[in-house]
Symmetry: C2
Subunit: 222 residues, 2 copies
């Protein structure tokens, strides 16, 4: 397996996170780098979705990935196999990333010349939603086995996301997951959030997602 | 549907959490009340597992349940249907429960005369592991769709748990989940943790779990 760079990132104790996030976003705009913050619960398929996304877009966009985890580098290794630029961020037990940690990650990755950088946040539906990372857009993955009631229980996560990917639709027959209720609950928290059902393992539904993402990158770089 | 009591619990800013947890555990010992802290990622089946557990043990133990969520009362309603004493705790956005919040919950529930109280913690594999709630034992549920690599990524959660329930084994054929690797990774984090594969939906494996739990309660009350 490839070896990947592992970076220990540390929370800022100085400036306000919102200010740091705004400043980072401004710099990214000037550099024409689109930063996507990808969030989800543990095991919902973030890394598999990313691998598929990279495979679909790698001929059109220069892509980098920052994999945040409390420990291990299994995800960054999996991404490095796709040929995308990848770095593993270790959060030292922290349950989320803030803008300063994201900035440290970007510096470690080397974001210059990239069109799209994806930050795979720590698997957690609570804390990551509370911290603006400086990303241009927020995406989250809700997988079918987790159930359609999650927007009721984790309101902020759904409020801050621009797009909700409903992953693992291949196992819909084996779970009591109601897609209509899911859409209604997401809309209740955030009427502007786009919902895209897909299966990262089989590729079903990926086209709608990668098209949306490509459009967002184009608009940011325009 | 039944209406359930909803309590807003607040974090303590005074004493050390470890001291408060130890004091609470001492009181519970005197009252012969066994407190189980049940943790997991969102959507791994905590409430379904609890409903099955209550159905199996309700003739032998007097059971109460505290359902912690950031918002909603869907879980407490589901538990109240079983006939167990139930209360919904709202954490006001907090990603975990500490010992003082647990104490407030117990007072709201009324734990006197109960043999077993289960605290269903906020769905999160990171923060709840950092705070001793005052529980006698910690249990966590890892569901098959989340993958067998979770002990690598969320080390503390597996270190603090006495038992790991591997739920949703009915869908093993549809996921790349390796039970032997799961057991090895759990043992790597915590060689004393017991691993019990089960399916809360079908009831498979529940007997080993409820037997273990009953033994723990007996030992605590002896």
């Amino acid at each position: 397996m490839d070896t990947v760079k592992i970076l220990e990132v540390k929370q800022s104790i100085f400036a306000s996170n919102d200010e740091q996030a705004a400043a980072l976003r401004k710099e990214l705009k000037e550099k024409k780098v689109f930063l996507l913050n990808l969030m989800s619960a543990p095991g919902s398929g973030k890394t598999t979705t990313l691998r598929r996304t990279i495979a679909a877009l790698k001929d059109e966009l220069r892509i980098g990935v920052m994999e945040a985890d409390i420990d291990s580098d299994v995800d960054a290794r999996a991404i490095a196999e796709t040929g995308a630029k990848a770095i593993q961020l270790h959060t030292g037990g922290m349950c989320h990333l803030d803008a300063e940690m994201t900035r440290q990650g970007l510096a470690g990755l080397g974001e210059e010349g990239l069109d799209l950088v994806v930050l795979e946040n720590v698997g957690n539906l609570v804390c990551p939603a509370e911290f603006d990372t400086g990303s241009v857009k927020n995406a989250m993955i809700l997988s079918v086995p987790e159930g359609h009631d999650k927007p009721l229980k984790y309101p902020l996560m759904f409020q801050v996301c621009d797009v909700v990917l409903v992953n693992k639709i291949d196992v819909l027959p084996y779970f009591d997951f109601d897609m209509d209720k899911c859409r209604a609950y997401v809309a209740m928290r955030n009427p502007n959030a786009k919902v895209i059902p897909l299966c990262a393992r089989t590729g079903e539904g990926m086209e709608e997602w990668t098209r949306w993402l490509k459009e967002q990158v184009s608009q940011w770089q325009a």
